[in-house]
């Protein structure tokens, strides 16, 4: 089964912990260089879905395809080959605390490339400079602030120039300015490197700022409540649950102004302007 242009395809995936059903029969497609948002309230199974997509937890049923290859049916070597093309920014950053930033970023490079130490060092410096952490090579993660750790983790996620970047709650623990900078970085990465980005979040500001496509998960029906461009969902959806989520419960407010005020982006002729 091969799907054209579908970078990641999730087909009829059911998530469960033992006998407790979290989400059922999820089917959605993430296309190349999408910024795809998986949103939903607390406890709706967003993170579990991520675990299934990145191979940390096997789905109760259903398949996840990467470029047409079924991840959970693949053998370990093939899985590693898929994972090599994937970068993940974890909610708690997951930087290896016993290693310096440089070591953190060079580990994936040492694992998967034949580069010499000097070339690796150059790449590490480049990645760190992309996230504004030049000069922190020899620092340990615990010596950095939360925002810096998040950026360092992003640098590590980008170490192998992944085709797909997963962000698990990227703005958790960041102040509004840093959250905004991270959003800009996500858009920038997607634009310039054509990276497919999957963001798991319930932060409305990020959702409207970066999302090109999205799904909204519903813990009650345990399935996808709505899908599409988040801004369009806000403007066009008639489903009260969708609107309540996307407007923080202020369903009677002027919707277009909400999108604008949350995202901080201006729209000119339907095109987004990254720096208003």
């Amino acid at each position: 089964m091969r799907m054209n242009d579908a970078h990641i395809a999730v087909r009829d995936v059911t998530l469960a912990y033992d006998s407790y059903l979290v989400l059922k029969d999820l089917t959605f497609t993430i296309e190349r260089s999408d910024i795809f948002i998986i949103m939903g309230g607390n406890g709706c199974g967003k993170s579990t879905l991520l675990k299934i997509m990145i191979g940390l937890k096997e789905p109760a049923s259903g398949k996840v395809f990467y470029d047409g290859v079924s991840f959970w049916d693949a053998d370990p070597t093939e899985r590693n080959a898929i994972l090599k093309r994937v970068g993940i920014l974890y909610q708690r950053n997951a930087l290896w605390s016993s290693m310096t930033l440089e070591e953190n970023i060079s580990l994936p490079l040492e694992e998967y490339t034949d580069l010499g130490p000097r070339q690796i060092k150059e790449i590490v410096n480049l990645k760190l400079s992309l996230v504004g952490l030049t000069g922190f090579e020899d620092h340990y993660p615990s010596e950095l602030s939360g925002g810096m750790q998040k950026r360092a983790a992003l640098a590590r996620a980008m170490a192998l120039d992944p085709e797909i970047l997963f962000f698990d709650e990227p703005s958790a623990g960041l102040d509004p300015i840093n959250a905004r900078l991270l959003d800009d970085l996500i858009v920038e990465l997607s634009d310039s490197l054509k990276t497919t980005v999957v963001v798991i979040t319930h932060d409305l500001a990020s959702i409207f700022a970066v999302g090109t496509r999205s799904i909204l998960l519903d813990p009650e029906t345990k399935t996808i409540l709505a899908s599409g461009n988040p801004r369009r969902l806000l403007e066009e959806s008639r489903d009260p649950k969708v609107l309540t989520f996307l407007t923080r419960g202020q369903t009677d407010a002027d919707r277009s102004s909400i999108a604008r005020c949350f995202s901080g982006y201006l729209y000119k002729d339907g095109k987004k302007d990254v720096h208003p």
């Binding site: 994972l83 090599k84 993940i88 974890y90 950053n93 016993s98 070591e103 580990l107 694992e111």
Partner: protein, 370 residues
């Protein structure tokens, strides 16, 4: 607080300060008062005398409401201060919104036995899985294909080796002293003090050196492994390794096991020698044996077999310590208390394994006659 009954209505006058930390009347007093006056169907409040209130008043009112609801008494809260009314209705609202979780209901005996059984089956499958994965990683290690950082290994060598020397020295010398003391009291009755050298030498080389070192290392290094790996699990660091295609078994467990397996025999030999020194201190210092005599007697008594058995045991203990520490760390739940529990569990299981294995060794060596 005072009451003024009017027909079926009981008005409660709240007076003075109702704050936490004071001796406040309980809701029970009110319901008792109502029970003493049959025919009362409604409770109202008057707060004109109330000077100050906080959660103390609220808890009183909430429990009063609950008690009255149970006995079909109407509670009219309109006579209370505005803030109190709002907070009470907020508390009500959430109570109605969310059903109290039923997971706290005590399990029946059978259900508890069942879930314990399922839990232990899961634990043992986890252990088997761990052993399987460890074996695979070990073969890769032997073939030189395991992926881990050499610099980690260096640190672990020092952590499992040199840094443990002070505590191993202290405990071993004390064990040697104690063995000698206990032994000499008996041996002196036969004028056979010189045999303390045999007693201490053989006991240290065969049993106590390896055993005490193992128990020290379990409490020291095994617990450290469990907390390190448990914390890494909490921080998603292990997930980050897995999604990078790096086996945590190779990257984290193998270097730890390797370091312990290489360092423990060295520590054990050291502990043997220090223990013998401890014995000599008693023998020479207190029971008039010359150090020359003691040394010769020890050399005569202890042969290579004794040493080898002790050292071989220590290598096995090292595997058990590393496995118990790493297994429990990697299977820790994601919370601070779970990491503590993992460390406790690792040490308890580890020490049990060490003692049981030591017993098995004793049976084997005595059967083989060595």
């Amino acid at each position: 607080m005072s009451y003024s009954p009017e027909g079926a209505t009981l008005q409660i006058h709240l007076k003075g300060s109702w704050t936490i930390g004071q001796d406040l009347p309980s809701a029970r007093e009110v319901t008792d008062h109502v029970a003493a006056r049959p025919g009362t169907g409604r409770i109202t409040f008057d707060h004109s005398g109330l000077t100050d209130w906080d959660s103390g008043l609220l808890t009183f009112l909430v429990s009063l409401q609950n008690r009255c609801a149970a006995s079909d008494l109407e509670v009219d809260i309109n006579g209370l201060p505005q803030g109190v009314i709002r907070l009470l209705s907020l508390a009500r609202e959430f109570k109605e919104l969310e059903e109290p979780l039923d997971r706290k209901t005590p399990e029946t005996f059978l259900a508890a036995v069942g879930s314990r059984a399922i839990g232990s089956v899961r634990y043992f499958t986890g252990v088997l899985e761990f052993i399987g994965e460890a074996s695979v990683a070990l073969t890769r290690l032997v073939r030189g294909r395991a992926r881990f950082r050499r610099s980690d290994l260096g640190l672990l060598f020092s952590e499992c080796g040199a840094q443990a020397l002070p505590i191993v020295s202290l405990i071993s010398i004390l064990v040697g002293l104690i063995l000698a003391f206990v032994g000499v009291v008996q041996l002196r009755m036969f004028g056979a003090q010189i045999y303390i050298a045999n007693l201490v030498g053989i006991a240290m080389a065969r049993e106590m050196g390896a055993m005490m070192t193992a128990i020290i290392m379990m409490g020291r290094t095994g617990a450290a492994f469990a907390t390190q790996l448990g914390t890494m699990e909490v921080n998603e660091e292990i997930d980050a390794l897995k999604t990078l295609g790096i086996s945590p078994m190779e990257f984290l467990v193998m270097p730890r096991m390797l370091a312990l397996v290489l360092m423990m025999p060295l520590l054990t030999v050291y502990a043997d020698l220090v223990g013998i020194l401890g014995g000599a201190m008693v023998g020479v210092g207190m029971f008039d044996l010359s150090s020359q005599q003691y040394w010769e007697q020890t050399v005569k008594a202890v042969n290579l077999n004794h040493f080898t058995i002790g050292v071989a045991k220590s290598a096995v203990f090292a595997v058990l310590i590393a496995a118990s520490g790493c297994f429990h760390g990697m299977h820790s739940e994601r919370s601070a208390s779970a990491v503590g529990y993992a460390a406790t569990r690792a040490v308890v299981v580890g020490i049990v394994l060490i003692v049981v294995t030591d017993g098995i060794f004793a049976v084997i060596t005595s059967t083989l006659g060595i």
